[in-house]
């Protein structure tokens, strides 16, 4: 037992290092990380003992959850999950406070890691009931997510124009772009999942080029085209947040994270949007009209502290949601109760490891310990890398880095994602993924690639649709 424990610790450390290295590739989606993980496993399965398999991959995902904050924050490359925290952190980087932003998100992630442990009674005594009751209803619950997601994309244009048509055209750009992205991604998902395009040898990596195309390539191209030129960064000793911010961040973090961890194809971006709508308490303290303070004015519009706090909450809760989604989804595989004898794990890693790994009673505590160790190491690593970035950011040739990242993602697809066919698939999905970038709608609309086919299949309509589209 003692030597086994030591072996596990060694693999947890190795997994943490492996996850940190994966963050070198900007804008990588967690589903791609899971894909790369399986390639790692195939190359090393004779090296990793069976009992260290799950801790190794768990620590890989834990460190990815922490360290991918660095490219997101400093290099301005967003994957789909960055929706919640991206804008405030970009803002902070442009004000030289990138380290603050990275650490705030990192501390949110750390809080999320400990939340996973504190939630033990919830996972054991309440969660199994929720999972069993909602399980047979998942198709319409996902239908609700889809409908709300589409209907809650409100026009961003103000509706300028002297005719009704001109007003619509001005206002509806983002709404139309969102609908288009969703429809194209959903249709692509139905075709792609019913008629695999990639060679059989790459079937386990089927989804990799799709996700790199939807999220990584558009993000990198956007960064290449933008004039992102961050100023000198402060290497501050303290972050501009208090304990209250972290307390406030727990609720949206929990709601968004659990939604993403449990509902299939619901990602951190979608979870964050729903959690934000549910828990936004900014208006608890409203803007106020006060007597004038400056000469030549008639009124003073006071912006309360709650508004500034909300900005910080975006980053903190964004970090929490990220780890609950990446790690919590996998941890649920180990919640083995009478009602959930096979666990309720979801996500890419669960999908990939389920055929080769069977969770056993007691594994939960091994995984919980893995999370604590890997999260602590990853957070320490994050603080060092964030400090390093503040020193070197202005010296980096960002255009070259983005170009290199682009070459890197295409190389990965070529090697493990189906060769030229995989590259072709990623270029098609990149075209769809570019629509949100150029028209300012939500990036997560591209998740329709999984949401639509999964929802239809769960309801039992998948085959009918495939026949209707003559894909059978």
């Amino acid at each position: 037992m003692g030597s086994n424990a030591l072996t596990i610790i060694v693999y947890v450390v190795l997994g943490t290092i492996a996850g940190s290295i994966l963050c070198v590739i900007p804008a990588l989606h967690i589903y791609n990380v899971a894909g790369i993980a399986v390639v790692l496993w195939m190359g090393t399965k004779s090296l990793i003992p069976y009992y260290s398999l799950a801790p190794f991959f768990m620590s890989l995902v834990v460190s990815f959850a922490f360290l991918n904050t660095i490219p997101r924050t400093f290099l301005n490359t967003a994957d789909e999950s960055a929706g919640a925290s991206m804008l405030p952190s970009t803002d902070m980087v442009t004000r030289g406070r990138g380290k603050d932003a990275a650490l705030m998100t990192g501390m949110g992630t750390l809080a999320g890691a400990f939340m996973l442990l504190v939630l033990y009674p919830f996972f054991w005594f309440i969660w199994p009931y929720l999972a069993r009751v909602t399980g047979p209803h998942l198709h319409w619950l996902l239908g609700l997510i889809i409908v709300h997601y589409i209907m809650s994309e409100w026009p961003k244009g103000a509706g300028r124009g002297d005719t009704i048509w001109k007003k619509f055209k001005d206002a509806w750009r983002n709404v139309f772009a969102g609908l288009l992205t969703f429809t194209l991604a959903g249709t692509f998902g139905i075709i792609f999942l019913s008629k695999p395009i990639l060679p059989a040898a790459n079937s386990f990596q089927n989804i990799m080029p799709v996700f790199i195309g939807f999220f990584a390539i558009p993000s990198i191209i956007q960064s290449l085209l933008s004039n992102y030129n961050p100023p000198k960064q402060y290497n501050s000793k303290y972050i501009n947040a208090d304990w209250g911010d972290f307390s406030y961040g727990l609720l949206p973090g929990f709601i968004g994270g659990m939604l993403a961890a449990y509902l299939p194809a619901v990602t951190a971006g979608i979870g964050a949007m729903l959690a934000g709508h549910t828990t936004n308490h900014r208006n608890l303290e409203r803007t106020e009209f006060r007597p004038p303070k400056e000469e030549g004015t008639i009124i003073d519009l006071h912006t309360p502290e709650m508004y500034y706090r909300q900005e910080r909450l975006f980053m903190i809760a964004g970090g929490t949601i990220k780890i609950l989604y990446y790690v919590g989804a996998f941890l649920l595989l180990f919640v083995l109760t009478e009602l959930t004898p096979y666990g309720t794990g979801r996500g890419g890693l669960t999908f990939i490891l389920k055929p080769v790994f069977i969770a056993e009673p007691g594994d939960f505590f091994v995984m919980a310990s893995t999370i604590v160790l890997s999260a602590s190491l990853s957070f320490i690593l994050l603080t060092y890398v964030a400090s390093l970035m503040t020193k070197i950011l202005t010296k980096l040739n960002l255009k070259f880095i983005y170009f290199l990242a682009l070459v890197m993602v295409f190389t990965i697809i070529y090697i493990i994602g189906g060769g030229l066919m995989g590259i072709g698939v990623s270029l098609i999905t990149a075209c769809i993924g570019m629509i949100p970038v150029f028209y300012g709608c939500r990036r997560s609309h591209a998740m329709a690639v999984l949401l639509v086919p999964i929802t239809l299949n769960m309801a039992g309509y998948g085959d009918s649709i495939i026949h209707l589209l003559r894909l059978a």
Partner: protein
């Protein structure tokens, strides 16, 4: 209330229909009537429908008589105020409703010039403020130097509450006054702030007493917030499901109506109300003014309540694991006590505590300001 609140409460209301819940469960389950139906999605869709009709369609159907679209480079508050004066004078002259629309001023992807419109009984003032982010956070020191305020006086008088109301509005007013006590004396119109994304429209109409009734967002919560329209809009659903030969085809219409009616009813708790019987009775009826639509406490508690009742209903009508079944975990009252009443009690206690702290801080700052700067010229308090 917010979109998600209406959406989820519409669904929660529909889950009280046992047949709709049974139809929704996966057909793989051994439950009578299980059909993997998406019927409950209709409740959510129709739950958010009235605001979809308003904000995605209705507002663009409305043309305004006066448009104020400030030049981002060189906004002129004097001209902006004069336009309002012209609108008031036209409303006085013609007796018709005159609409004026103020557009936001975007300066960059995440930068907007904020401005306030301050109304007095016979005067309007427009003040240009700082540049703000899309989160409405001001960038300090970005207020224009000089020429920040424009004023325009007019001979007419503005008022914020209409006196020309129909029987339904009179009934709502009567009920509100019974519920809340007498209305506060109609003062001047509240100031308005324009910064990000959408424009603001004001309707101005002269009433019998010679004063100009000021109507904020005259296109909002009118035809779209009507029980009659909700019934009419459920008809196509009934038609389609009938043609598709679905079992319980009529129930799809009922569920759609329930979703939309829930939204309309919830909005009546606010200030603006709705045109409840449009097209039979066109004017917009005032609300009961119990909560502000954006109040986070109302929104969160309704969302949480809706979530709990969705779980409660789908369990008791199908799986029967939590309550109601032979081996159920607990009686229904204990479930509601533990998972609804207790958490809500804790939530309101915590929020009340936070609110108390906010108010105390505000009071302290005010007192400090008064001590330091009797003329109110202290520094802006931000952090």
């Amino acid at each position: 209330m917010k979109g998600l609140t209406h959406f989820i409460s519409g669904v929660a209301a529909a889950t009280f229909i046992p047949q709709a819940v049974r139809m929704s469960i996966s057909s793989r389950m051994d439950i009578e009537g299980a059909a993997s139906s998406f019927i409950l999605v209709l409740a959510g869709m129709y739950g958010i429908m009235p605001d979809t009709l308003d904000f995605k369609f209705g507002q663009f159907f409305e043309m305004s008589d006066f448009v104020v679209d400030p030049d981002p480079e060189n906004p002129d508050p004097v001209q902006m105020a004069r336009k309002f004066k012209e609108a008031v004078e036209k409303a006085d002259r013609t007796g018709e409703e005159v609409r004026i629309q103020y557009f936001p001023t975007q300066l960059g992807t995440n930068k907007w010039r904020q401005y306030c419109i301050v109304f007095e009984e016979s005067k309007v003032s427009i003040q240009l403020n700082e540049i703000v982010s899309t989160s409405q956070i001001p960038f300090m020191g970005t207020a224009p130097k000089g020429k920040r305020v424009g004023r325009a006086k007019f001979s007419q008088k503005l008022k914020s509450r209409s006196e020309e109301i129909d029987w339904l509005n009179k009934l709502i007013r009567f009920l509100r006054q019974k519920l809340k006590g007498p209305d506060r004396k109609g003062g001047t119109v509240k100031p308005s702030t324009i910064d990000i994304l959408s424009s603001t429209m004001f309707g101005l109409k002269k009433e019998a007493d010679g004063r100009i009734y000021f109507n904020w967002l005259p296109w909002h919560r009118t035809w779209s917030h009507s029980y009659v329209l909700a019934a009419l809009m459920s008809l196509p659903v009934i038609g389609i499901t009938y043609l598709l030969n679905l079992e319980y085809w009529w129930l799809y219409g009922v569920v759609s109506f329930v979703g939309m009616a829930t939204h309309i009813t919830e909005d009546m708790t606010g200030h603006i109300g709705g045109s409840l019987l449009w097209p039979l009775l066109r004017p917009r009826t005032e609300g009961f003014e119990l909560f502000k639509a954006s109040d986070p406490r109302t929104n969160f508690s309704v969302i949480y309540t809706a979530f709990i009742f969705i779980i409660f209903n789908i369990d008791r009508f199908t799986t029967r694991l939590i309550t109601g079944g032979p081996g159920a975990a607990m009686p229904w009252w204990l479930f509601l006590l533990l998972f609804w009443i207790l958490p809500m009690f804790i939530y309101f206690k915590v929020v009340a505590n936070i609110k108390k702290k906010i108010d105390e801080k505000k009071k302290r700052i005010k007192e400090e300001e008064e001590e330091e700067d009797p003329d109110g010229m202290g520094d802006a308090v931000i952090d």
